[in-house]
């Protein structure tokens, strides 16, 4: 057992850090630090810089443009990215549909889609959840019927993050209505510009427009857009959801936010002294830091385990990452709220697109707090995570 990173790993960390310092557009970084939203162009511009460096799809196999890094290197890269901070690669393309395509797709799909994902020529979004199928995803109803050389897709997807920017959506569709739940589902790629697609934005409690409803009415999709085998889509979906085991903890994001809390709490006064000098507040903050350290160590255990024994058998500790990671993200946004206290109140109606620079950036703190309630709901709610632990780890 050894906690220290090797010399090579430390040098790698320095290399990554240096690259971020030199290449992340300062405006992009500032907006992230202040909790502002980035425009589509700002995000895409950064991702293309990353891709030119060869780090756009770092965890993919080398033959598709990956880096061949060790799991520790990936960990370091993600931590530095989150702490700098710089925008993480678009998960829907890079972490979700990309791996499904290179694992289960045909040669033509790989050749066409993978480079476009890496360079964000296509902005991807995820068509999984439906109004009636949240945690019980396999009950989904959107159907794709074969008609000649195409599928005709009908149904409705929801919580589709950033669908307003998307060129493509990967959908789970029912292709065999007679089959029971999990069987009879297929993984189909749909062009968002197809006739019959309507995107309706959903405004969330923070005032932002991140998620959407996507309606599919008689949308025609070429048969060649099926990934893998028909009716095997559930297997691919499980693969996709199980792929991101360690990134979900977002340790770097929480570290960055704790620094922010400390910075802000040294400036804001309460009772004639900075909030950071209040014993009660400091103890609350220290308690979160300890929880975060425990989470970081748990994550490192999983990372080291994957590095040594491959990703085949997940370390039981990995199911801890989502639960604790989301709780800590929520607690840290809560502490930021506590720091600014009554100044959390002003609401910026145009704050979401980051265009209203006149507004004090503290105006982003309450939205960030409200917005972060989502992290214990998405990606398999924390209650679903407990179901997973119950069955997969405890055998109950």
């Amino acid at each position: 057992m050894d906690l220290a990173f090797s010399k090579e790993e430390m040098a790698f960390r320095e290399e990554v850090r240096t690259f971020f310092r030199a290449n992340v557009p300062p405006e992009t970084r500032r907006k992230l630090v202040e909790g502002r939203h980035l425009s589509k162009d700002e995000m895409v511009a950064w991702w293309r810089i990353l891709n030119r460096k060869g780090w756009g799809v770092s965890h993919w196999p080398k033959e598709y443009g990956g880096t061949g890094w060790s799991s520790v290197q990936h960990y370091i890269f993600n931590e530095e990215l989150q702490m700098y901070p710089a925008p993480a690669p678009l998960a829907f393309g890079v972490s979700m549909v990309g791996p499904v395509i290179y694992t289960f797709g045909n040669e033509q799909q790989k050749k066409h889609y993978l480079p476009r994902i890496a360079n964000v020529d296509d902005w991807w979004c995820q068509g999984f959840s439906e109004p009636g199928s949240g945690s019980d995803l396999a009950s989904l109803k959107t159907k794709a019927e074969r008609k000649g050389d195409k599928y005709v897709v009908n149904g409705q997807k929801t919580w589709t993050t950033l669908a307003q920017y998307a060129d493509m959506i990967f959908c789970l569709c029912r292709t065999d209505p007679a089959a029971k739940k999990q069987t009879g589902i297929s993984f189909i790629l749909v062009d968002m510009r197809s006739k019959g697609i309507t995107v309706r934005p959903i405004q969330t409690i923070d005032g932002g427009y991140e998620v959407n409803e996507v309606f599919l009415d008689d949308v025609e999709v070429p048969l060649e857009n099926l990934v893998g085998e028909e009716n095997k889509g559930w297997d691919y979906a499980k693969f996709l959801l199980g792929n991101e085991r360690t990134g979900i903890a977002r340790v770097g994001v929480s570290k960055e936010r704790i620094r922010r809390i400390k910075e802000l709490a040294s400036k804001v006064e309460s009772g004639g002294k900075p909030v950071i000098q209040d014993q009660g507040f400091r103890e609350k903050l220290a308690a979160v830091e300890i929880e975060l350290k425990a989470l970081e160590l748990t994550q490192l255990r999983v990372v080291a385990d994957e590095g040594k024994h491959g990703k085949g058998k997940p370390n039981p500790a990995s199911s801890v990452l989502k639960i604790k990671g989301s709780e800590i993200q929520q607690t840290t946004t809560e502490l930021l709220m506590e720091v600014i206290g009554p100044f959390a109140a002003p609401y910026d109606e145009h704050g979401d697109d980051g265009s209203n620079e006149a507004m004090d950036w503290t105006a982003q703190i309450a939205p960030s707090y409200f917005n972060n309630r989502k992290v214990s709901i998405y990606g398999g709610s924390n209650e679903i995570q407990r179901n997973i632990i119950t069955k997969a780890v405890l055998g109950l």
């Binding site: 220290a286 929880e291 350290k293 080291a304 780890v393 405890l394």
Partner: protein
């Protein structure tokens, strides 16, 4: 970065786990508890035979030169079996004081008897008003000729009732809370002027309140610098805290396992109660708490290599906070999920809860260590 055990460490784990699974089930533990002094000399000898009592000592002193990871392995196993024998006070604490502070003569005088199991030790540190502050010492050691005279009272000295030798913290100069002027003295338990009042503790161990009245010891009794032993004491107590974190992880592991087993077998409403989601999620939360505690136990263990003493102390304090919180949650929920049977002395789960509770209150509770982490400026 590596969290795997080495081949040698894996063998150590197998051997200590093997010994305890053969000789230390819940019924055997009851028998050992009924023996004189509340623990088994036969088990102590077995631990000695397997080399476990000599693990951390240098090869030159007759030991195996093992490190913090090996201690973690042993303590986790001892926690899992709820072992009563005085490994912590003898090997970890007295051993630590001798290893880090003892002269060659002192090592030669005491370490062989620890390694071969012929003597056990106790750490007489807690005082009526000291609570968790190691620098708060009233017991005095006054110079007399080349030696010292000790006067004062110590409380809840674990293994104090049975120990052959007591390692006593005492003030050689300065005021009650001064950091300077604290020494550590080795005192034979049967020395003239030592009065011990022994009693069992909540978790099935034995302790003593000890009065020292004009106890005379020679110059060789002072371990380390008699006027500035606080850094030594702090270092060794941090090692003890780290060891207790590992012990707690073992006890939590076994508590969770026992509870899950109970959920699978206990039937109500015609079904195993483990089929109820409320109880499943509670058990899942216990698992999360145990894993977070395990991570911090490893962190504290590996922190013993940190060069910076402050960073090391903060890491241990942080671990003690996590372990305290996890232990309280896991212990309390284990009782709750067992229902009425969990309230009984005959079920083993309550005994785990009691040990976990006492661990939280030893060498600084959760609030105490949270304050230490806060004062250090935190971890991020």
């Amino acid at each position: 970065m590596d969290f795997d055990l080495s081949e040698e460490q894996r063998l150590l784990k197998e051997s200590v786990d093997g010994l305890l699974s053969d000789a230390y089930d819940f019924d055997a533990r009851k028998k050992y508890m009924a023996e004189k002094g509340g623990w088994s000399r036969a088990i102590w000898s077995k631990l000695a035979e397997q080399g476990l009592l000599g693990l951390p000592f240098a090869e030159d002193d007759g030991g195996f030169g093992a490190g913090a990871v090996e201690t973690m392995i042993v303590m986790e196993a001892l926690g899992r079996a709820l072992v009563l024998e005085p490994y912590l006070p003898t090997v970890v604490i007295a051993g630590g004081l001798l290893r880090h502070g003892g002269s060659a003569e002192q090592k030669a005088a005491h370490i062989p008897a620890i390694i071969d199991g012929s003597k056990s030790f106790a750490f007489a540190q807690l005082e009526k008003n000291s609570r968790y502050d190691l620098n708060d010492v009233v017991t005095s050691a006054k110079k007399k000729g080349a030696g010292w005279v000790l006067d004062g009272e110590k409380f809840v000295v674990i293994n104090g009732e049975n120990a052959d030798t007591l390692l006593v913290t005492a003030r050689t100069k300065g005021g009650q809370r001064d950091k300077n002027g604290i020494g550590v003295f080795a005192v034979a338990a049967n020395a003239k002027g030592v009065a011990r009042k022994g009693y069992p503790t909540q978790d099935g161990l034995h302790a003593a309140d000890i009065t020292f009245t004009g106890v005379e010891v020679g110059s060789e009794a002072a371990i380390g610098d008699p006027e500035n032993a606080l850094p030594l004491i702090e270092r060794v107590v941090d090692e003890a805290r780290t060891a207790m974190c590992a012990e707690a992880v073992g006890a939590m592991d076994e508590s969770l396992k026992t509870t899950v087993e109970y959920l699978k077998t206990r039937k109500q409403f015609g079904v195993p109660i483990g089929s109820f989601q409320t109880l499943q999620h509670r058990a899942a939360d216990m698992f999360v708490a145990v894993e977070q505690a395990r991570s911090m136990s490893m962190f504290a263990t590996m922190a013993s290599d940190f060069d910076d003493a402050k960073e090391r102390a903060t890491a241990v304090a942080a671990a003690k906070v996590q372990i305290g919180k996890s232990a309280k949650f896991v212990g309390q929920q284990a009782i709750q999920l067992h229902g009425g049977i969990g309230m009984t002395q005959e079920a083993k789960i309550g005994h785990y809860f009691k040990r976990l509770t006492m661990i939280e209150n030893t060498f600084g509770d959760t609030d105490y260590h949270l304050r230490r982490v806060t004062e250090s400026g935190g971890l991020v």
